[in-house]
């Protein structure tokens, strides 16, 4: 069995997809009182998964733009619904990001989660399964199923392990917003199915919808993806859910769940409805730049540590949207890189919040101050990620942001100009936040626990720091693998431009 997997590389993806389920299965048989065994099993499974998913990258052929590791399982063959899997240069990195972040999440909640540990770990592994599924499934209907299923474990994580009473409301917010967004999507998937006769992605790529159809279908997809991004009028769930979620939940929320929206645009809206994408690009630009400026401004006056970072996330993801809708390779690659680097940076910032929250049990900025006195290492990491967050050159965000701006500047100078102002405002609130938390006098009347980050926490940050630096200093390793896929995508939109 083992050498079957090793020899046959195409099955690697299935293995990656199934492994979290195996882990869940194992966890089910461990008594819930045996905490250490539960944790170590979950940690080892997720670590193994991360390593295996790295092999996906190793065996990934950079010179092919189409899907690799493709495999097809029959599901409902007489209705043409099949379970087809595959990754290309775009989804590969999202899978890697998922496996890495889940691993880190389990590591960071080692001591902070005290109740229902078994269920917590199972929720994470199940979510990992769904997320890998979303990023690797090549069937529209199944994509929808996975896309929506992600909500279930996340809903539970926010609702059960959240920090305050308000968590129920936040969980509702989160669930209803994202679900309502995607109601129309299901309808349009059914429409597509009746139109084409299949929901297989690779077949759909060859089908050309009429312009009117495209517009309606695009809009219904947009509702779903825009809620996930989140674009401006429907962003309200994000600060709410972030604030209430436990640290690990916030990390996954910011690190991976927000990328589902951008991934959806990249994977479905662009190639399937290229004309509609071009048609609606101005409105997306408008919403995005409004989102960037408006959320950046809002973040300035927040008092909740997590809320600030949540609003930052919204601003950054809207910048990614600007990059996506530039429809050229620079902008698209920038958007993917920025998504990745945001996955690292925002996750790290939430981890940073989690660490002080675990010690002091408050997220109000005003209670903190002068942490550098007692936690120098922590402050250093915080500084590093604050600087990444405002896009200091040398970190990943800069490369991403610059590529995005360079891409969108070609198509729309005004939108780029306005979205670049986010750079200034971002500088304001990030620096203010960092300064308030780290510098000044230590507020001994509020802070009683003076322990700097321990080894486990330090190792949690290590991969994120390395990742951010690699994207910042030598993004070639990532860009190389995505060139072909992105170029194919650009090809499609350019054909319809002509």
């Amino acid at each position: 069995m083992l050498d079957f997997f090793l020899l046959n590389v195409t099955n690697l993806l299935i293995f990656v997809l199934v492994l979290p389920l195996i882990g869940t299965f194992l966890l089910l048989f461990i008594p819930s009182s045996n905490h250490s065994l539960l944790k170590s099993v979950a940690l080892n499974v997720s670590c193994l998964l991360y390593v295996v998913s790295l092999f996906l990258w190793v065996f990934f052929n950079k010179s092919i733009g189409s899907f690799q590791f493709v495999s097809k399982l029959l599901w409902i063959p007489f209705l043409n619904f099949n379970f087809s899997l595959g990754v290309d240069g775009i989804s590969l990195f999202f899978i890697l990001l998922t496996t890495l972040l889940i691993f880190l999440c389990i590591l960071i909640s080692w001591t902070s989660v005290k109740s229902n540990i078994k269920e917590f770990l199972i929720a994470f592994l199940v979510m990992e399964f769904f997320l890998i599924g979303v990023f690797s499934i090549l069937d529209l209907l199944l994509f929808y199923i996975f896309f929506e299923s992600v909500l279930i474990p996340m809903y539970l994580i926010v609702g059960v392990w959240g920090s305050r009473e308000r968590k129920i409301r936040a969980a509702y917010f989160f669930f209803l917003y994202t679900l309502l967004g995607s109601v129309l999507m299901l309808l349009s998937i059914l429409y597509i199915y009746y139109q084409v006769g299949t929901t297989d992605y690779e077949v759909l790529l060859t089908f050309v919808f009429s312009t009117t159809e495209q517009k309606f279908l695009w809009l219904s997809f947009f509702g779903s993806f825009a809620t996930k991004v989140p674009m401006v009028p429907v962003h309200l769930w994000l600060p709410e859910a972030h604030v209430e979620a436990p640290t690990a939940g916030s990390v996954i929320l910011a690190g991976v769940l927000l990328k589902l929206g951008t991934y959806g645009f990249l994977r479905f809206s662009f190639p399937l409805f290229p004309e509609a994408s071009l048609f609606f690009a101005p409105i997306v630009y408008l919403l995005s730049i409004v989102g960037i400026v408006y959320t950046s401004f809002t973040a300035i006056r927040q008092t909740d540590f997590k809320r600030i970072i949540a609003y930052t996330s919204v601003a950054h993801m809207n910048l990614v949207m600007v990059g996506l809708f530039s429809f050229n390779a620079v902008g698209l690659e920038g958007a993917i890189l920025q998504s990745l680097s945001h996955g690292f940076v925002a996750s790290a910032l939430f981890l940073i919040i989690g660490i002080v929250y675990e010690r002091h049990h408050t997220r109000m900025v005003k209670y903190y101050g002068g942490l550098v006195h007692t936690m120098p290492l922590y402050t250093f990491i915080f500084l590093f990620f604050t600087m990444s967050n405002i896009g200091l050159p040398g970190t990943g965000s800069f490369v991403g942001e610059f590529l995005i701006l360079a891409g969108s500047f070609k198509t729309n100078t005004s939108a780029t100009f306005i979205s670049a102002t986010g750079m200034i405002i971002g500088g304001c609130y990030s620096l203010w936040l960092f300064n308030r938390i780290s510098y000044g006098n230590l507020k001994i009347q509020y802070l009683k626990d003076y322990i700097d980050i321990n080894k486990r926490e330090a190792f949690t940050f290590l991969p994120l720091i390395v990742g951010t630096l690699v994207i910042g200093l030598y993004p070639e390793v990532f860009l190389n693998s995505m060139h072909m896929s992105v170029n194919m995508l650009v090809e499609i939109t350019h054909i319809c431009k002509l």
């Binding site: 401004f297 006056r301 550098v372 200091l392 000044g440 860009l479």
Partner: protein, 669 residues
């Protein structure tokens, strides 16, 4: 060797920063100082090879960003401009390192301090050696970060925190401009490396670029945004307010970053991109005007500051204005020459100020000093030399560059040329005035400090003295020695590093201006110095009366409060944005409109409707029977109606009625 030149400070910084605890303060200082000294000697060698022998070095390291047409490499370009900057940076930086080992010796965070200093030097070297705009931007932001960290070095002080944030944010406004400039360059040239951009520029002049739906001249708009970047970094009028506040940082930092190196990055940028600036006369005029205004403005503010370091800071600001308007007049070599000279004597002044501050128990207010001449004679002599060099006293360093700047300004024979000449000459007068005031108040007048402090005043130990002495030598000599090489006629020192079109070249014109205008700056400087000396030694009563008169009070207030720039920025602009971000975006939109039309409105409507519908479930049989009967009748009646009037009315209207009924009922209850 060239790569080592750039990366040695980084190595030193990492050693001191990451292993500072193991190395200890002494070890960390040793490592960083050694690294910096080696770097300095390497850059001297590079200077010899590149500038004197005239062979430029170009190293293409590894690819960085490679996406469609955007190809950026990590590349290093060493031409005359670069190596001159390298020499200045590494020289001042080594001396500041050496100085800090003594100055900061009692600070428990010495390794961290040394690490930051070295990191700063590294980023500065990246800035000057970059071969493309984006890599230059790495250095540009990197020095900003180090400046932030170093201003904030004493992190418990709230003023330092404020100043650090202010510096970074105001710099980011400039950086924003720079990024936009680079973006335009990329979009139009499809390249960001200097060589390509500069080679193509002459072809692209007069090309129209549509920006924000307005048509602009391509080169002008690029240069305009690059200049905004320079304004931010070089603290020109408008974005200058961070520089004086940055004096909250330790004094060696002020000497290195906020006098000699980082703040001159803007001037460096203009000089580096001279092949672009040369093709846009409008932006050049703007550069000239802004530079001249800064030179004058900062000098007036420096006149009435009481903080020792702030006076020098405003003086830096003013001198940067001179450099910038020299560049705006297309005399880039003169601007850079002034940059080099200024780096030496301003670093000297700052380090001397640090020595004084140490001597008087960390007191920075000049009014509480005085009489230090006899107590700290060495520092006194150094400060006097530095001040004289700054004033432009004949045959000291400042004289050679400042005079030439004013000469070329007059010799331009344009409106902005004369404008900058007048402001610059007045600035020279004011510079002399406040420099003398500084020296007088600190050293010459009667002691005004506390007795125990004054009694304990001492001259610093040998590291500080050596550093000061090492800076005095170039402050006295470099102008005289390097003049012919750097700005002499027919000197091929700069090679292709800087470019001036033949129309803009006016060095020869400036040689033939009327004699009186040539010597006017020197006369005014000497006059200012004398006047200041006389006023403060004999006319102090007059000064007090002047200050107490109604007009004098207002003028004093105006200058002392820095023309109210900070007040306007903080209370009008800053407060405005804060109000917007709370009342409008957060309260009205986020918690208001979106909340009401979104979740809150929805949930309240649903609960209301649900309770209303729940009321119908009374549990009485006759209610249900009534409902069923009426409902059935209605439906049957509707069906008959349909048969009768189906062709006349659309059935969708019933849906509307149904929807409306909710709201109608709602009003009754």
């Amino acid at each position: 060797m060239y790569l080592l030149l750039v990366f040695l400070p980084l190595i030193g910084s990492c050693c001191a920063g990451l292993f500072g605890r193991k190395l200890g303060p002494y070890g960390a200082s040793c490592v960083t100082v050694t690294c910096l000294l080696i770097t300095f000697f390497l850059s001297l060698f590079a200077f010899y090879e590149v500038s004197l022998l005239g062979c430029c070095v170009y190293i293409k390291f590894i690819p960085w960003i490679n996406s469609e047409l955007l190809n950026v490499d990590w590349g290093f370009l060493f031409d005359s401009l670069t190596v001159v900057m390298c020499c200045v940076v590494t020289f001042v930086s080594s001396i500041v390192h050496l100085y800090s080992t003594e100055y900061m010796a009692h600070d428990p965070h010495l390794p961290r301090f040394m690490s930051y200093l070295s990191l700063f030097t590294f980023f500065m070297l990246i800035l000057v050696t970059a071969d493309n705009f984006i890599q230059m931007f790495v250095g540009w932001e990197g020095v900003g970060l180090c400046s932030y960290l170093l201003i904030n070095f004493w992190f418990t002080r709230i003023q330092a925190n404020k100043a650090a944030i202010k510096a970074m944010v105001l710099n980011r406004i400039g950086d924003f401009g720079l990024v936009i400039g680079i973006l335009i360059i990329f979009v139009e040239y499809k390249a960001v490396d200097y060589a390509t951009v500069f080679a193509v520029t002459p072809i692209l002049t007069n090309k129209v670029f549509s920006f924000l739906s307005f048509d602009f001249d391509l080169t002008s708009i690029i240069c305009f945004f690059l200049f905004i970047g320079a304004v931010g970094k070089s603290a020109q009028l408008g974005l200058h307010t961070w520089l004086p506040d940055a004096m909250e940082g330790p004094t060696p930092v002020s000497a290195l970053i906020h006098a000699a190196t980082m703040v001159t990055a803007g001037v460096f940028l203009i000089a580096r991109t001279s092949p672009l600036f040369e093709y846009t006369s409008s932006v050049l005029s703007l550069v000239t005007v802004v530079g001249a205004c800064t030179a004058f403005f900062a000098a007036t503010v420096g006149l009435l500051q009481n903080d020792l370091k702030r006076v020098i800071a405003y003086s830096t600001c003013s001198q940067l204005g001179y450099m910038v308007f020299a560049c705006g007049l297309s005399n880039y070599s003169v601007g850079v020459f002034h940059l080099v000279n200024h780096a030496f004597f301003k670093a000297l002044l700052f380090l001397g100020a640090g020595s004084i501050i140490h001597a008087v128990a960390d007191e920075q207010d000049m009014r509480k000093m005085g009489g230090l001449k006899k107590l700290v004679p060495f520092t006194y002599s150094m400060m006097v030399i530095g001040s004289l060099a700054l004033i432009g006293f004949p045959f000291l360093t400042g004289f050679y560059s400042k005079d030439v700047i004013l000469e070329v300004a007059y010799g331009k024979y344009t409106l902005e040329g004369h404008f900058s000449y007048i402001l610059g000459t007045m600035g020279a007068f004011l510079t002399a005035f406040y420099s003398t005031r500084l020296v007088y108040l600190t050293f010459l007048c009667r002691p005004n400090g506390y007795k125990p402090v004054i009694c304990k005043a001492y001259d610093s130990s040998y590291q500080i003295c050596i550093s000061l002495f090492l800076l005095v030598v170039p402050s006295v000599l470099i102008g005289f020695y390097a003049k012919d090489m750097i700005i002499g006629f027919g000197s091929d020192f700069w090679g292709n590093a800087m470019f001036t079109t033949t129309e803009n070249m006016n060095r020869i014109d400036s040689e033939f201006i009327t004699h009186i205008f040539k010597i006017l700056p020197v006369i005014l400087s000497l006059l200012g110095a004398t006047l200041s000396f006389l006023l403060y030694s004999f006319g102090s009563r007059l000064l007090v009366q002047l200050k107490l008169s109604v007009l004098g009070k207002k003028i004093y207030h105006f200058f002392n409060k820095k023309w109210f720039f900070d007040k306007v920025y903080n209370e009008q602009i800053g407060q405005f944005f804060f109000t917007i971000s709370y009342t409008i975006t957060y309260k009205v939109i986020d918690r208001g409109i979106i909340e009401i039309f979104g979740p809150m409105g929805l949930s309240s409507i649903i609960t209301k409707k649900a309770s209303y519908i729940a009321k119908m479930q009374t549990g009485y049989l006759y209610h249900y029977t009534f409902l069923i009967l009426t409902g059935l009748t209605l439906i049957l009646g509707l069906r008959q109606f349909w048969v009768f009037a189906g062709s006349l009315a659309d059935f969708k209207i019933f849906i509307l009625f149904f929807m409306l009924s909710f709201f109608l009922v709602n009003k009754k209850t």
